[in-house]
Structures are given as C-alpha cells and as structure tokens.
Amino acid sequence: MSEPVLALDGVSRSFGPIEVLHGVSLALRPGRVHALIGENGAGKSTAMKILAGYQPPTSGTVRLDGAPTAFASIGEAEARGISMIHQEFNLAEQLTVEQNIFLGRELKRGLLLDKPAMRARTRELLDLLDCHVATDRKVSGLSNSDKQMTEIAKALLRETRVLIMDEPTAVLTSAETAVLMRQVRALRERGAAILFTSHKLDEVKGIADDLTIMRDGAVVWSGDASEKDEHAMASAMVGREMRDLYPAKGPAPGEVVLEVSGLNVPGHAEDISFTLRRGEILGVAGLIGSGRTETFEGLCGLRAATGEVRVKGRPVTIRHPWEALDLGLCYLTEDRKTRGLLLRKGMRENLTLQALDRFTHGLIDTTAEEAALDKAVREFDIRGSRAVRVGNLSGGNQQKLLFAKTMLSEPEIVVIDEPTRGVDIGTKQQMYGFIRGLATEGRAIVVISSEMQEVIGLADRVLVMRRGRVAGELAGAAASEDAIVRLAMGVLPAEETVA
C-alpha cells in the first residue's frame, strides 16, 4: 500500500482540563478515500481540524509525507496542499463563483484583475468536476451541490493533495450526493487523498476504501472498509456500556396531555403524529437535519406549521410562542448562546425574562426577582458570580440557568432540545436528574437529543425521525441504540438484510 501523505500519530487534544481526543492515529493515503465515522461528540471534527491545521494537537504528531509537521496556520496547511471543506461552506455569498474560487489568489495583469484568465481557469476546473454552473453566478443563488463543487474547485486551484470534507452529503439531496460521489471518485483517480465523515452508512459503504471508527475520543476500529458491513459499523459506533448516569425510570405515566397529528412544518417536517402523557419523558432521536428541532419549534409557534394539536383533549391553534406558553407548552432551545440567553445581561434579567409578568405589578418587583434567583441557584445548583454577565458563565451553568428560566414559567409540557450539549459529565448527570424530577412532578416532557445513550437512558418512549418524518416509535427494551440508529439512518434490521 502507498505511503500515507498525511497522518495523525498518537494525537491527543485537550480543551482546558478535559481531554477530548485520546491517542488517535489515522493515515490518509494518496488515491484512497478514507471515511471517518462515529457518533456526535466522538471526536471526528477535532481530529479533522488537527489534520487541516486549524488546531494543534496537545500531544502526539501530525506527519506530512512521513515528516513531523506543525502547521502555524490554516494558510500554511493550505499552501502545503491540505484543504478542508466545512459542512456550512466557507464561501462569500455575495461574490460570484469565479470570484470565490480565486479569492485571495486573484490573477492580475499589472494593477488590474485579469478576468478573462480567471474565468477560463474556473471553467476548466468546473468542467473537470463535471459541474455546469455559470462562472459569473452569485454563490448565494447556487444549490448546495454547486456550492460544494465551488469549494472543491477552490481546493483544486490550490493544488490540493489532501481534501478533508466534514459531512459533505448532510445538506445534499440523493441526486446531488450521487454527483458528489462521482467527483470524489474522479479526484481519487487523480491521486488525491480524501477524508470524509458521514452519518449515512450506505454512502460510506459505497465509496470508502479505508475506514476509521471513533467513539468517545478514541479510535475503536481502523482498517479496510470492505471488512465491515453497515450493521457492523453501526454496532462499533455505539457499542458502549450504559453507565450509571441516568436516573431510574418513573412510574407508569398518567393521562394524555398532548396529541399531535399530521403536523407539517414546511421545508422541514411532514405528517408528524404522536401523543404525550403526564409524567412521561418522550425521547426524540434522529440525525442532525432530520427535522427534530423544526418540528417542535413549529409545534410551539416559533415557526410556521399546520396540523392538528390537542392540549388536554382541547383542540388548539398555536401561532406564537406566547400562545404556546399560555397553554403551558414551552420549548427550551438547543442553542443557548444565540437563542437561549442574553449573554450581555446578568442572571436575574435572564432568569425572569420569560415569566416577567409573574414579577410585574405595574412595576417589576426586583426583590421578588432576587428571591426567585436565590431559589433557582439553590434548586438547580447554578454556580458562578451573580454580578458577571451570563456570557462569562461556564456552559454547564448557562444550561442550568436556561433550564431554571424555562421552569420559572411553570410549563406543564416542556420540550427540551439537546439538554446536555457541550456540558461536562457531572452536569449531564444533574440535568438528567432534574428532567426526571420534572416528570415525576407530573409534567410531560419531550427530550430531543443527538446522543443515543441520552435518549435511551432518559426516555420512557422514543420517537425516531428521519428526513422530516417519523421513522418509528420504540418503547421499553425495543429502544436499543442499534434499533434507533437503524431507524435514524434508514438501515434495515440485520435479519431482514440477511433475508
């Protein structure tokens, strides 16, 4: 087999006191496609960023052509033939395709830009990629697939030997994916080394030569992709012992408080139906982009949606978030930094923002607000100085504050989106305790999560979404990681595949 062009050799990476990558080794070879798979948070993106020179490793070695290398900047990595394409693209939306491809390396004739030369070269690169988009079109008007091709053309112009792609197909339709895969094969034939991540195991199976599976910041398996079928990949990705992280499940749930049938959120989700009982935790699993968040934002009046919703048996129409709140229905966002908290304000103003009317009798009663903050700090174990802006609190404390803020308006039905994103394990356990406690108090809870273990450990019942639809519902022992992953990825159960 050819010598690796770019490799990680026993690379670890820590953020503060937390090590997120433990001794990872990974080798990219010219003329081969390498797939990196693993659950969210397994350390894939960190590994990719270290490869592409975005971050240095804390320990271990990055080798370029066998020699230990430390990239001073992304620019240096790029100059040495390594390009990374991000999931959300790195293009100037208001510039044209050719302007983007030549951004920072414009061809000049004297003082002026040599537009004909740039246009001709852009055409050449795009033709190579079998992409027929006009070179003078603005990037903002392009399809995701054409944007992807523009990124690849940009990489080609820089004579890329290693192309790293973070979930390149997550935003593509299946037809666009087929086009991309054809281009990836073409690049492979030209001798480029390609690394990509994907949650779609059928794609991985279809194109990868080499395969690395990561779990919890470490490589659990690495080798020839032909050795693993999709079922074996899924098992290796999730095969983890359940820790004692989750509280005991509650008693049998009470009466139905929420019935949703045929909910449509245009562009994101279709025909979503489910019920929710008092004292129950309903888990919602699915890949990122499967429409989980949008479904529940639609339900709670945060985006346009149609469908039949009954709260405690009564048909309701919810067009605005405050209408949902009046019905005792509240959505707790996954994005605490840009949608959850006012980072420039203090704890008190954040805590009471949603339930301000409870503290207002003509004027705001700040003494009552302070008392509520005292109680919240005690109840949810929020640590940190009250005088600082909320933006300066740790992620875990921000999440607890967001939690306290939502609960202050005493919703009976709470949708919690990614309750533990970016928080440490100790806080996670606390959050799980709070959530189970709320259910035991008689509230009905929906937990949306990308972490399979979280969904299984916490939920009484699991709804799995795939491509904007409910792919299935699992309860009790049937809600295994394996079953969820299969439904979320649209892979048939092992028995059926065999049959």
Partner: protein, 323 residues
C-alpha cells in the same frame, strides 16, 4: 465585581456636564443666571422629549431618522387645521385642544406607519425612516407651498403661554420635559416594557424564544416616539407660531446624538433615560457657551458637537472591551 471602567461609563457623561457647567460659569457670569438656565432648558425640551422616545427605539435595536421632518409636518398640519377651524371655533381653549389632538393623532399615525413597516414587514429601520424622513419633509414643503405656514395672529397670541407661560416661574416645556423623563426613566428601569426593549435590542432571537412579543414591543417603541414628537410639536408651535421646510431640521441627529452621548448603545440592548437627558443638556450647553463667550465662533457649534459624539462612542467601545 464591577470594573472601574463600567463606573466610568456611568460617571463619564455626568462629569462632562459638570465640566461644561464650570467652564460656562467661569467664562460668563450670566451663564448660571435663572433666565439663561430656563432658556437653555426650554430650548432643550423639544429635542429632549423626542430623545426620550428615541432612547426606547435605540435600546430595542431600532433607529428613527424621521423625527425632525415628522415634527415639521405635524407642526404644519396643526397650523393648517387650527387656521381653518378658526371661523367656526373662534379663538379659545377648544381650538387649542383641537390642535393638540391633531398633533398627537398625527404623531401616533406616523409612528405606527414606521413601526408597522419595520416590525411587521421586517424592513430595515434605517431605510424605512430615511424614506419617511424625505416624505414628511416634502409634505411640509408642499403644505407651505415652499414658504412658511403661520398661525393666525390672534390664535398665536392666545396659544403663546403654552411655550412662554408656566408654573412657579418654570415654563411648560420644562415641566413637560421633566414629566416625560420621569415616566420614561421608570418605564425603562422598572417595567416589563423597558426590560423587553433591552432584551430585544440585546438579541431578538432570545427574546422570541422567551415568548416576548417582539414585533409588538418594537411597534410600541415607534408609536411612543411618534406620540412624543407630537408632544414636542405642541410645545414648539406656540414659540414661533409658524412652520416652514426648515422646521425641525437635523433634530433627528441631535436626538440620536443625545441618546448615544448618554450611554445608550447604538446597537441596542442597553439604554438609560437619565443619560439621554444629560446628553441633551451637554449638546445644548455647548451651543449656549459658544453664544455667550467669544472664545470660539458659534459657527463651530456643529463641529464640537460632532467631535463629542464620536468621543462618546469611542468611550463606549472601550467600556465594552474592558469587561
């Protein structure tokens, strides 16, 4: 722990005001005379009343460039209505009340229009109010046929006490300004409305996800500002008894400048009404001092005001970085 720099942003404008007062008093003994003080305050009242409304708009992340021409248009409309009602109503309190009602209603409608375009249709506040600024300025020019609209002489004499009269030697504009400031300060500091304005200006997504009625609060800030422009016009018309295409020229810039000098953030999220009052006073004192002394030509008033505005924003930026 608050850093000393935060305190600086609080005392900064106050300090500047004190320096101006000391400077003024030392340069001209008549500076602190009652007549001069009330004169400065009364002249500040128009901009001041508007600037209090502007504080809410800016705190909620908005902007209104149309207030100067809106004031001119309302003044012109008010004069036209009062003049044409004169034969039927005669000189008296009813016709003045009619004029006031017209001013308030016009302010309400104008504020509503700006607010609906901005909050419901989601058009940039800068664009909407730049447009309405041009429209009102043009409308008043058209109403006055390029010249001046004058209130009937008898009516003007009857209405004049609203500007020149007062209680216990304090003129009405000052009293109304003080009331607007007190109500504004309480509203900003201790009501859900004020808190919601700051939340929306800070991050409207967070406000939306916290069930705040974002569009309604935004609309309300423009309506309140429109009403306050109406109030300011009611006090302004009896001063000269006329309106022309030059009425209220650059008031929007003075009002915005006063708000910024007072420590409200131009990008929204934090506002203080008392700061705005200090901003208004600083701006008018500069003009007054230049008029009373011959150190610098009064024609340089605009240059000094401009420099102070830029300085205030630089100080604000330093404050943020210091945290």
């Amino acid at each position: 722990m608050k850093s000393p720099k935060i305190q600086m942003s609080v005392v900064g404008p106050v300090l500047a005001l004190v320096v101006l007062l000391v400077l003024g008093a030392s340069l001209n003994p008549s500076f602190l005379a009652w007549d001069n003080v009330t004169n400065v305050l009364a002249r500040s009242a128009f901009i001041g009343i508007i600037a209090v409304g502007m504080t809410f708009v800016i705190t909620a992340g908005g902007l209104d460039l149309s207030v100067g021409s809106m004031a001119a248009f309302i003044a012109g409309l008010m004069i036209l209505v009062m003049n044409s009602a004169l034969p039927s109503l005669g000189v008296g309190i009813p016709i003045v009340l009619l004029g006031m009602a017209v001013a308030l209603a016009a302010g309400l409608v104008a504020g509503c229009l700006n607010g609906i375009l901005i909050s419901r249709l989601g058009i940039e506040a800068f664009i909407v109010t730049l447009g309405s600024m041009g429209i009102y300025r043009s409308l008043v020019t058209w109403l006055a046929d390029g010249g001046t609209l004058s209130l009937d002489f008898g009516l003007r004499t009857f209405y004049q006490p609203v500007y020149y009269g007062g209680l216990f030697g304090v003129s009405w504009p000052i009293i109304v300004f003080a009331l607007v400031v007190i109500v504004g300060e309480i509203a900003m500091r201790s009501t859900a409305f004020g808190r919601h304005c700051a939340a929306i200006g800070s991050n409207d997504q967070v406000a939306k996800y916290s069930s705040v009625k974002v569009a309604r609060v935004r609309l309300t800030t423009y309506v309140v500002l429109g009403l306050l422009v109406g109030v300011a016009t009611i006090l302004y018309v009896p001063r000269l008894g006329s309106a022309s295409p030059a009425t209220g020229l650059l008031w929007e810039l003075e009002a915005i400048a006063a708000v910024i000098i007072g420590g409200t953030m131009l990008r929204g999220g934090f506002g203080r009404v008392w700061g705005t009052v200090i901003g208004v006073l600083i701006l008018s004192l500069i003009g007054n001092i230049l008029n009373l002394t011959d150190l610098v030509s009064p024609y340089l008033n605009g240059a000094i005001q401009g420099a102070i505005i830029v300085l205030a924003v630089i100080l604000q930026r330093d404050t943020r970085q210091g945290q």
